[in-house]
Each structure stands twice: as C-alpha cells, then as structure tokens.
Symmetry: none
Subunit: 224 residues, 4 copies
DNA sequence: TATGAATGAGCTTTCATTCAT
DNA sequence: TATGAATGAAAGCTCATTCAT
C-alpha cells in the first residue's frame, strides 16, 4: 500500500525505520550496560546510522529513554487493567489474574525498568513516570482490597493504600529478582505462590479461596 | 586523654578526619544527586579539602562508594541478626522484631541503597554487595519459615526461599516507598501492618498470633 | 578540477587537512620542546583546531608521534636504498652516495629522530621502529663491506656487522652533531670527510679510491 | 674514627646515607624506566624513605639527575685523560688506550647517559653537561690527530675537529649499541675493531701500525 | 632530619551537542 | 534526512612541591 504512494512517503518510511532502529538499539544497549555508560555513538552505531543522525530524531539521550519507557508504561497500564475483567465476586481469581499479568509485564521489561529507576532518582520527569507505573498496579490492588473488606472477605484492620503498596512492591520486586536463575519456579508456580501470599496477607476469608480454604486451594493448585 | 597517645597519632588523626569528611560529603552528595552526577570536585569541596586530597584517601569515586556502602552493609547485617535473640517459639514476635529492625535499617539508609542499586546494574563488584545485603534478611526469613513449617505453624506448601525473597522484598520496598510522605503511617504502624501481612501470607497458625488469632492480634495492636 | 570529484570528498578533504595540520603542528612542537613537554592543547592550538578535534584523528599523543615517525622512516628507507643504483665496481662512489643520501635524510629529520630516541628508551613499539631505521643503513653498509672484502678491496679482518654498525653510527651521529653550528662544513665537505673516514676505516684498496690512492682522492676532491 | 665522635655526627652520617640512597634509587629507576616516567614517590620508596624526605636533599627531580650525571661525568673525564699517559710517539697504542678507556666508561654508564640525552634535548643546563662529556673525548682525539698530522703520520686533508667528532661519536654510539647482545664481541675485540677503524680512517701511516702495516697489525692482534 | 597529608596546576580523555555540507 | 568533522565543557586523575608536625 504505502509502496504505491509516490514521493515523500518512502522517505518518511525510511525516517520511521531510522527512528525505531534508534529506539531498539537504545533499549538494548541501556538494558545491557546502563544509561550513563552508553554513549550516543554506540546507539547510532547500533542502529546503523551515523552519529549526527541521532539528533535528527531525538533532542537528547534522555528524550530517547523517555520514548522507550513511555511505550513500556503503556503496556504495563494495559496489563494492570486486566484483572477487572473477571466478575467482582471471584476474589481469589481476580488477585491471581492481576498478579499474573503484572508479573508478566514487569518481567518482560525488567531491565529497562531498572534503568528507569536509576534515572528516576536523579531526574524529576522520570520520577513521575515511575510512580505512575507503580500507581496503576497499586490502585488496582487497593480497590480490590477495599471491596473485599466491605464484603467482609478481608482483614478490615489493614490500611488499604499501604497494604496495596507493600503487596504491589512484593510482586514487582519478585519479578526483578526472578530474572536471576536463583529461584527455580516457572511462571505458573510463581503466580501461585505470590497469589497465596497475597491472599493470606490480606486475610482472605476461607470461602474465597478456591476449594473453600487455604489447604484446599493448595490441593487444587497441585492438580492444575 | 588523646594527648597521652604517643607519636604518629596526631597526624593520623588529621588523616582520619579528612577521610571521614570525604565519606560523609560523598554520601550526602550521592544521596542528593546520584552517583554519576557528582564529581570528585564537589565531594572534595564538600569535605573542605582540595580535589587532589581525595586521591590521597581513595583510588576512585567507586572506591569511595564501596567504602560507604560497606559500612552500611555492616549495619544492616547487624540489624538482620537481631530477630534471633528472641525465644524460638515466639513466632509472631520474631517476625515482628526482624521486620522492625530491618525496616529501620533500610529506612535509615534508603537513599544510599538506591545509589548502590543503580551501580549494581553496571558494576560486578557492587552487584555482589547488593545481593549479600538482601540475602542476609532473606535467609533470616527463610530459616524462620522452615522452622515454622516444621512445627506445623506455617503453610507447608510454600517454597521457603521464594517466599522469603518475596516477603523480604516487600519489606525492603516498603521502606523505600515509605520515604515519600505518601503513606501516613508511623514506624509502629508500618511494622504492625508489615508483620500482619507477613504472618498472614505464610498462613501463620491462629495460636501463634498474639491473642490467639488474627482478630485478637488486631485488638492487641490497637491497645499497644 | 577538484569540483569534478563527486560526493564525500570535500568533507574528507577538510578532514585530511585537519589531520595533516595536526601532524605538522605536532612535529614542530615535539622538535622544539620535546615529547612529554608538549600537551594536546598546544598541538591542537598549533593546528588551529580545538583540542577535542585532536581525538577525532588520533587516539593519543603516542599515536600522533607514531604517524610522524612512520612517515620519516619511509623517507629514510628510501634514502638508504639509493646507493645501490650505482655500478657495483664503483666502491668509493657507492660509499659516497650512500653517505650523502643518509646524511641528508638524517639531517633533515634530526630533531624528530631525537624525540623518537627518547621515547624508544621507554616504549617498546618505538624501540622497534628506531632499530629498523638504523638497520636499513647498517645492512646497506654491511653488504657493501662484504662484497668489497670478497673482491679483496677491504680489510678482511673486519667483522662486517660490527664494522657497519660503528660506521653507520658515525654518520648518523655526525648528522645530529652537525645541526649545531659547531663544525663549519657544508654538505659536500661533510660527505667528503665522512666518506674518506669510512673508506680509510675499512682499508679500501688504493685502486678503489678516486685517482688511484688516498692522496689523489684528496686532490680530486679539492678540484670538484 | 667517625664512630668515636659524639653528638651531631651520627645524624649527619644518617643524612649522607639517605642522600646516597636517593641517588642510587634514582639512578636505577631512571635507567630502567626513563626520567619523566619515574615519580618522586617511586624514588623515595626505592630509597626506603618517605615522600617528603626527598625534598630535604634535592630541590627537584632535575637536581637529582644533575647530581647523578655530574658524578658520571667526572668518571668519564678521568677516563678520557688516560690516553695521554703513553709516550707521544706510540700513536696506535695511544688511540687504542683512549678507545678502551672511553668505551669502558661509556658502556658502564650507557643507560644513564641516554637519560641525560633525552633531557639535554629539552633543558639547557643538561645540554651543556652533555656537550662537555663529549667534548672531553673529542678534544683528546683532535689533539692526537693534529699531532699525527704534524708528524706526517695522518691524512693532512682531514679537518681535525670534524674528524674527531665523527670518530668520537662512532666509539660512543658503538658503546650504546653494544649493550644489546647484537654484536658478539668481547671488550678486547671491540677495542681492536674500533681502533683499526679509527687508525684506518685517519690514514695512519704504515709505520705507526703495530708490526709495520695494517696486515701485520692484524696478525699481531690475533696472537695477542 | 624525617614525615606524610595537603595542595592545585595541569594532564589526557570523553562525549553530548552543533552545524556546514 | 543523513553525515561526520568540529566543538569545548567537564570529567577523572597525576604528581611535583609545600609545610605543619
């Protein structure tokens, strides 16, 4: 289709290709060597273009990182909204679904999120983005918790926001640690463990566990 | 008193003072502006010496950071070994004590640990130190969990290592987030919440909770 | 004319001009002030560019010196191969021609060769280059001596290599000393003296001297 | 004797020992690594004293080098005056004696003389010292040559000063090259070759050669 | 005398950024 | 758009020298 359009379009297509090559090369290099270690030279070379071309597409190295992490953030926002598709009474399953999709998303982008972290400590604008990413998952957990507390399914003593922060951080941190081959768990097992921890942590009522209580949930998980 | 010490000490004393001034200035600046942003000049100036003097005491900026975080690591190692002073049957109290001392230690050193994080992604030697710090708390939690599982006090289905990793990460991450004035909790409340989450997460048996079960534990915590 | 050359050449031409300006400035400054005394700043300033530009063209000060002396070495290699163009029976004339071209080459590059000397004492790679330069003249002299010995024209007792080394060093050192206005000789006189010394040193047979013996050679030289 | 004198003398003895330790360490390090490469730190450490002590004894690194080479120069001056002890009519023997003692002296101090060379190119004061060292041998050779020319024993066409310069440089350079195990000659052989070259170069009359002419001199040398 | 901490000018080198082509 | 030479601020680091002890 685009190939039939004459004139400026192919050039634009070439331009887009250049830009996305820079994004890709930048992401890979940042993940591998960190942000401040990687120079414009390396990125341009990795994208197969010359040094100066970088500045045709980005104002600075920070701008490139912003472009990269903005894309990542969108993906994570999508992931965190997935738990709400299940019926509101399926508490355990909702927790599980939210954990699975967030674990998956964070795992996939673990390295670049660490890079974002390191810049967030230093640059205001990145700090905001970092908080938004976390917030999306925390709010999801918090709203779920409040609902469960209202339904008498969760420990009413727990402050919702702090609890969701703590448990959200647990899942996210686990995703990062999981990268290293330290823990011998596959994704299903990891999700299972995290969900049990989460459910137990908020004092999820026995009837909300699959099978009817924690032990039965274990049996069920084994036969899955 | 010091005047009774003979010979080389005065000179040494001057040196030690300089060195510790550099450590202090370095730490403050790293915490405030990050590692790569801060130059030797700034550190030396912050310590009230000329930049050449920096190299009398440290081989490089990295060496200074190593010195700083090594000191921090020692403090944290001490903190994590504190839970074991309680009698082994006081499960909940032990979890609580461990959480309190670790939370306190990490909170006090939160910023510099973030700086260490950012370097650990890039430099091998820092990565090791970072892992050791985490490991000390994780192992403490893991050993406690195993004991409780053996005593029938905790969910036997939980893989000890992964569970301790996840919950340890929860406490540590909470300490970092807690810095920001987002959550309106004081230390006692934070420790209480984290301990309830932890105890619930591992399915701590009702009789091990203070008061005899989770609800009683809540009442007790309120009257504390 | 140059305008007919297509594409990248103008930019390249600018680059080449810059590079050769650096080479020229570096050479002049090294000759005037020695290697370690001269900084990158001075070289760049001498070439009319900023000091950062230096590193666009050379990796280090050593790399610049290597470029300079490599060029000089090539010239000297050419010079030392010049004696062999004469007929092999013209012993005296061949010695004279070799001396003249080597004297001329060394004289022209005397100062930079001294700089090379000073670095050759310290850096392995320059040592090799230094030896090669000497070797080219020494081998030329050695081969000539062996031939003359075989023809019965030179003292057969002389060890060829050591002899050529000593006499080669004589010519080279003379070239260096000659720089200073100590000796009031022009080039023709210097060549004449050196050649007489050389010929006498190896015991060149009377019939190989111009005119038939040493005295006749002197008369001839005077009427030249 | 000195040991019986009380009070300040032992301290002075210690001082002298310190100074000569610095001279020794400096010389060794300069010879091994060159002048500009070696720092005050290394010298002081090599002498077993502290950094600052160096400046108790020397004003600068240059001052140390001056002290070292001044001592060497004295030795060489002594060596070059040795030839004149022989009877004035023993031309060949005088050349031989002068060559031997100069070769020996230069060989012994070859490395440090090279260091002096490298500084002589840059610093005026060292240049003077360098020239004096050379001059002492050159003058000796020049005076000898003039005498022989007057006696009709040497080629009268040779300009005495330039000739002595060239031949002196030959001996000196040979001493430096001889360091490397390139030439397989022992000292006696080296002296013999150099003297034959020298005698031949100046056209020394047959009757002044040992045995009566060059060939006879060779026979004699073989039976030595 | 000897010490060694302190100094700071000066070095080489890097790299984000600009701009003429 | 793409190029790559040029820029120059700023970095990390060295080292001869000073000086209080």
């Amino acid at each position: 289709m685009t190939s039939t359009v004459p004139g400026p379009l192919p050039a634009m297509a070439r331009g887009r290709r250049t830009k996305s090559a820079l994004v890709q090369a930048g992401r890979q290099l940042f993940e591998e060597h960190g942000f401040s270690t990687v120079g414009i030279d390396a990125i341009a070379h990795g994208a197969g273009v010359s040094h100066g071309t970088f500045y045709t597409w980005f104002d600075s190295k920070e701008a490139l990182l912003r472009e990269i992490v903005t894309g990542v953030a969108k993906e994570i926002f999508t992931a965190t909204s997935i738990g709400t598709r299940l019926p509101p009474d399926a508490s355990y399953a909702r927790i599980e679904a939210a954990n699975r999709s967030f674990l998956r998303a964070v795992t996939r982008h673990s390295r670049i999120l660490r890079v974002l972290d390191s810049q967030a400590d230093v640059r205001e604008d990145f700090r905001g983005l970092r908080l938004e990413i976390r917030e999306s998952f925390v709010r999801c957990g918090m709203e779920g918790l409040i609902r469960m507390q209202e339904l008498g399914l969760a420990d009413p003593m727990l402050p919702p926001r702090a609890t969701a922060s703590a448990l959200g951080a647990m899942v996210e941190s686990f995703a990062h640690l999981w990268q290293d081959p330290v823990e011998g768990l596959d994704e299903a097992e990891a999700v299972d463990v995290l969900t049990r921890l989460w459910a137990g942590a908020i004092g999820l009522a026995p009837q909300a566990w699959p099978g009817g209580d924690r032990a039965a949930a274990a049996t069920e998980a084994l036969h899955e």
